[in-house]
Amino acid sequence: MSPRQDNTVNPRLDIDRIIDDRRTRIIVCCGSGGVGKTTAAAAIGLRAAERGRQVCVLTVDPARRLAQSMGLTSLDNTPRLVDGVDDETGGSLHAMMLDMKRTFDEIVEAHADPARAAQILANPFYQSLSSSFAGTQEYMAMEKLGQLRRSNEWDLIVVDTPPSRSALDFLDAPERLGRFLDGRLIRVLTAPVKAGRPFGRVLNAGFSVMTGAMTKLLGAQVLRDAQTFITAFDTMFGGFRERAEATYKLLQAPGTSFLVIATPEPDALREASYFVERLAEERMPLAGLILNRVHSVGVNQLSAARSLAAAETLEAIPNGGTATASPASSASYAVTAAALRLHAERMNLGERERRVAGSFISTHPAVPVIEVPALPEDVHDLAGLRRVGGSFTLQGGNGAR
């Protein structure tokens, strides 16, 4: 399996085609942490807006300067119009940062009567659940996506998934929360509060061992808080499930495109691989893979080995090559040798990236791929985002090497 095998070239991912297609209503950018998801989402949003779409970018945890570049200064949960977008084609760009707690509070307020809502909002368990990072953020991002989509104010929503440790968390979180809220544990926890005996005698014996253990583990007060919380929340369970299911269906709908983003690193591509497989299982529409931060090489014709050999040759020539060597020519030999070594290093890095990407590509030959070159600097303004957006499409050649 040679990494240079060109007969296994994947189709090329055409992002312009996706954003120009008016039927595309949602683009979900996913991938493991640190691969450039947020920047990619913002760049796609900007490009789509400048090609005439009414776009809203929903971002979860942007870097400060990137957020500022889009005029996002606070987590206010409201889409804000981004200034400086070229609106010649009639498009527009809005952007918003997710406020997870507020989104959650709003659902509670929408689904429970005021007294009960107040009781829930004040409960320590609710506060922990709604402000913690794990799970809730994913769930709320999906909830917000659903809200934005239902509002019908935008014809394209680009969403950047939360920085989960695993790319899959955001697919699982809503279901996990749903399963939890419906779960046996809830019934057990609420049983002492509810009248009657939901379990048979035998189960009940095991059950008291259990509550005993939980009391020991958590303390009676924690258990009481949990029970109150869950009882109060009970009325909302149905609503929660329905919403989670609706969002899930939305993700399976034809107007949704998933873009998986990865850097040419083993860990990032492993996550991307799982994700691709998982999307297929869930029948969610995968548009393709953005292979981000690929190191391109200027001089392809000079291999690492020949480059290193030339550097060694130069270093072996005494005094810069001439008997009457000037210090300048000896210095230029040293600089040239260093440049050759640098080139060899880049060739090796490129080779490694190709090898790593090659194993993804041969495992998923049908997935459209596009490579995006590594930029020397982070992006912090619209011009930078525009450049990134351009690199999604301007490069010629094939998606995969």
Partner: protein, 337 residues
């Protein structure tokens, strides 16, 4: 024990955090190897079950069990350093919960019943703070564990915790604050307090792994501020990972390359078409110079934090066991262990 001073003498729990993609697990593993010398016994703990440690050491997935995974380097030149042992443990909240119930209450079977009923879902979904307490609880327990007859009196001379990423580290470590909202009294609260006593003591240092790029550096600085804001917590070192040392001096990088001289040199090295090659290499060189300049700017920002900085080289071929040992040797040479 060697007499050599390191920057972290007295630290027994090394918490390693970093932004995703910066090589946090690799650095944690290298640090564990570096600490395992002179017969010292080190425990390397993986907090978020990705089995990255098993992959690094080329082992099958690790169970919830402390097992020996590597032998630390002995230093041949003094002949007396016998090396040490690295043990590894992959913690998952479920295992930590069972462990906790067994250790403190002898209630393992009740724990298994709880697991079946979704207790772990409970902990991780509704109150991630609880599962953090269980994970940090296991790490601090291993740090405190006594072993009569060992040189230090402890079961492990050092514990290295491959912790959650920088964005979550403050919450993860500040367990008593996490739990206090949930439990004002009771066993989980006192457990959290015991954990906090170890974490908020000079025995524990939080090391940050980053690369010389803008976002990782910013996150590192934010993380350091966050840890410093918690009374009793100690920031450790900053490990700049995947650094690419440059052979060229500042002066050489700043000067525009002399194309004619380069072409002449390339011709002398026997390369075909030296003129166009020189132009292409010169482009690569100036791109490199810009990159080095950016890296220097980021390094200056890190230096402003006033913590020791260690620099580890990039292994373009990827990290294998040999590379891990080289990284460990670097950490030792630079005084991190």
């Amino acid at each position: 024990m060697t007499a050599r001073d390191t920057d972290w003498d007295g630290v027994r729990l090394h918490v390693v955090t970093g932004k995703g993609g910066t090589g946090k697990t690799t650095v944690a593993a290298a640090l564990a190897l570096a600490l395992a010398h002179a017969g010292r016994k080190v425990l390397l703990i993986e907090a978020e079950g990705r089995q990255g440690i098993a992959r690094l050491f080329d082992r099958p997935p690790l169970p919830y069990e402390e097992r020996k995974i590597a032998i630390g380097p002995g230093e041949a030149h003094d002949g007396r350093d016998a090396g040490g042992d690295v043990y590894a443990l992959a913690i998952d909240p479920e295992g930590a919960l069972l462990d906790y119930l067994q250790m403190f209450y002898g209630m393992r079977s009740a724990g298994i019943a709880l697991t079946r009923l979704g207790m772990v879902d409970f902990a991780t979904t509704i109150a991630p703070g609880l599962s953090d307490v269980l994970v940090t609880g296991k790490a601090t327990e291993a740090t405190r564990r006594r072993q009569p007859g060992s040189a230090s009196g402890f079961a492990y001379d050092a514990v290295v915790l491959d912790a959650p990423p920088t964005g979550r580290i403050g919450r993860f470590l500040n367990v008593s604050a996490e739990v206090s909202g949930l439990a004002k009294v009771g066993p989980i609260r006192s457990h959290a307090d015991t954990v906090a006593n170890v974490i908020k003591s000079p025995q524990t240092a939080v090391h940050f792994v980053c690369t010389l790029e803008e976002m990782p550096v910013q996150e590192t600085l934010d993380g350091i501020t966050e840890i410093r804001a918690v009374p009793g917590m100690h920031v450790g070192g900053i490990v700049v990972n995947m650094a690419r040392p440059t052979e060229l001096s500042q002066q050489e990088l700043k000067a525009p390359p002399d194309l004619a001289a380069m072409a002449k040199a390339l011709g002398a090295a026997g390369l075909y078409d030296p003129d166009s090659l020189a132009a292409a290499l010169a482009d690569e060189l100036s791109e490199h110079a810009r990159h080095v300049e950016l890296e220097d700017r980021e390094r200056t920002e890190l230096e402003a934090a006033g913590q020791p900085i260690y620099e580890l080289p990039l292994f373009a071929e990827g990290i294998d066991l040999a590379a891990l040992h080289k990284l460990a040797a670097e950490l030792r040479d630079q005084g991190a262990a």
